[in-house]
Amino acid sequence: MAEFTVDPYAHLYARRTSGMSASEVRALFAVAARPEVISLAGGMPFVEALPQDLVLEVVTQVLTESSAIALQYGGGQGRSELRERLAMLMAEEDTPADPEDMVVTAGAQQALDLIARVLIDPGDQIAIEAPAYVGALSAFGAYEPRYLQIDLDEHGMIVEQLEDALLKGARPKFVYTVPSFHNPAGVTMSRERRERLVTLCREASIRIVEDNPYGLLRFEGQPHPTLHSLDPQNVIYVGTISKVFAAGLRVGWTVAAQGVTQRLILAKEAADLCGSSFNMLVVERWLAGDHWRRPALAALVDTYRSRRDAMLAALAEHFPDDATWTRPTGGFFVWATVPEHLDTQRMLAAAVERRVAYVPGTGFYPDGRGRSSMRLAFCFPTEDRIVEGIRRLGELIADEDELFRSLSG
């Protein structure tokens, strides 16, 4: 008699991998990625909008003029010339940054991993928004924190809730937030709340991690100050070129006080020695020209705005009266909530069968909440496809609703 072991070393895996398992939702996404499915699921930037000839020119320049650097290792902090360019990019949002306080990372995702590595011991509490960016939950989860969840409303994180928790003795290691054009909620933190959050955290000696991938993709209204600009000492800023240039190049960065930056550089070197010199040079050159700024960025913003408009109009037409959704003023996502008796995770297979996909809300909470919510991305599909996708979803929701009413008699 033999115990048949698929993985004879299963008992040797670290505890932090216990949540890493195959899932039905992931399997459904494999079907949703097929071209016949209108995917409102992935937050893929619309890279087709980039001027391809200019990209080619930049890449060619890098290889002809700097191949010795491009093909070689570099320093752990990332090229200083690139960091200077990134500081200029941040200046577009009126956020001063010293290139010396920056670390270039493999996308913002690695920045989140490194920050967690430097700050979280197993069992530490950290504060997150509810819902929270799913990639941050994955990155942080590997370091086994406990979560203090702070709800969101249309003005972003409800800072009063954090204040209450602090009064009751909670002391999270840091507060993680996507203040502008939130992923997945689409909402933006008001100026008053930004100021209150920054003051509250400074007084309580709690760091803030500000994740700002979408800040430059604003469709309307006046920009709010970044948290980092309000308190450069206490806020760890995370940026990325994924949404304003190319996600495939994996270039992100952090800006933080020197003590944090020092440790992030060492953590970065431990993780992968250094970023891709080639990719860094491409980004550096791209940002050196001004095509990225006014024309390219404005065209991109126009496209995303039209797609958001198409999605909001379609939602108003096709979603039921008792559904609600956010109205983002920038970024990529709408967060929709359907009547609470519908379970968006269970409904996903039926949606994919009707050739439309979304991300079920439960992925954005560490505790299984979000069952009746869904994240809808308007960044990638064309307007026609968005409208058709929302129409299919609306029809599905109506059918599911009817089914539920019949079932519960």
Binding site: T5, V6, R26, A27, A30, H341, A349, L407, G409
Partner: protein
């Protein structure tokens, strides 16, 4: 002799696409290691009939899971194209894949399956048959297993302990299929009975012990999430009884070449047949290859045997 050209059909559009691709690549590698000119063909990629005809294959290995690949649709197409393929023919696929048709046939043949009822989405919607759920609970009791009538890999499956959770579970199952099966839950030991022709030398039973207690999608496809024992830790009598029920199911439904039946053995040692698969998974965590391996048959030999059965029909 030139190598036989074998298309391993895998992928497709069903929710089990990913699992199927994993099965297909393993089968392709196993066949290639024996010198077959094997390649993976995904029917969801481009016009199937044109691609397939141009490929000029000697036979197909069907590694598709879920609807289209397991419900006879594809098999019917292959019959028309006059290409031999591994596994069960169209009509039997249709019967076995649809849990309602399969259970009716098995009941009629006297194969022990847990007491059950089916609810169809159209009946609930068009005939306002929702209140039927309460009758089902009165008749079958709780807990119940709720599953889609046509799906695999435990997708859309839930265990229901409280009546108020039943509508949600039924909706979850109906997300995958037009009907849901509600089945009395049998507590005991779960085993997989793998069958590969010729049947004179049966494969050992595989006992399934999921660490979470539930053999759901994650427990099936995460390496290390489930412990397997092959042969199963059951008496020879019980094992023989399981095989007997499985063989009767295999014959009743008209399966061919291979199949896998999932059986619950209750605390009195009585086997209850809970599922029949015409296209068992061939992934690294799948049960049939595990049973074969426990009997000393490695994957290449197993796939070779199945391909030869198909080629004999050409």
């Amino acid at each position: 002799m030139s190598a036989e050209r074998i298309a391993v059909l895998a992928g497709g559009r069903s929710p089990e696409r990913e699992v199927s691709l994993r099965s297909g690549h393993r089968v392709m590698t196993a066949l290639a290691s024996l010198g077959y000119d094997a390649f993976v063909l995904d029917p969801a990629d481009g016009p199937f009939v044109e691609t397939f005809s141009a490929a000029r294959v000697s036979a197909c290995y069907v590694a598709l899971h879920g609807n289209e690949g397991e419900d006879g649709t594809l098999q019917r197409l292959l019959e028309l194209l006059d290409v031999p393929y591994t596994g069960t023919g169209p009509h039997a696929c249709q019967m076995a894949f649809d849990k309602i048709l399969a259970k009716e046939a098995l009941d009629a043949a006297g194969v022990a399956t847990p007491a059950w009822a089916a609810v169809e989405a159209s009946a609930i919607r068009d005939l306002s048959a929702g209140p039927i759920l309460h009758h089902v609970v009165e008749r079958l009791g709780l807990p119940l297993v709720v599953k889609p009538s046509r799906a695999g890999s435990a997708m859309g499956l839930s265990f229901v302990e409280r009546e108020q959770d039943l509508p949600g579970a039924v909706m979850g199952a109906l997300s995958f299929s037009t009907a849901a099966i509600l089945e009395r839950k049998i507590n005991g030991t779960e085993v997989a009975v793998s069958m590969v022709e010729p049947m004179e030398d049966p494969l050992p039973l595989v006992e399934i012990v999921p660490k979470s207690g539930v053999f759901d999608y994650a427990a099936r496809y995460t390496a290390g999430a489930t412990e397997y024992f092959a042969p199963a830790r059951v008496s020879a009598d019980v094992a023989a009884a399981c095989r007997r029920e499985a063989s009767r199911a295999f014959e009743t439904l008209g399966l061919r070449d291979l199949g896998r039946t999932d059986v619950m053995i209750d605390i009195d040692g009585r086997p209850w047949l809970v599922d029949v698969n015409v296209s068992p998974g061939m992934t690294d965590t799948s049960l049939l290859p595990m049973a074969a391996q426990a009997a000393g048959i490695e994957l290449p030999e197993l796939c070779d045997r199945l391909v030869r059965l198909a080629l004999q029909r050409s």
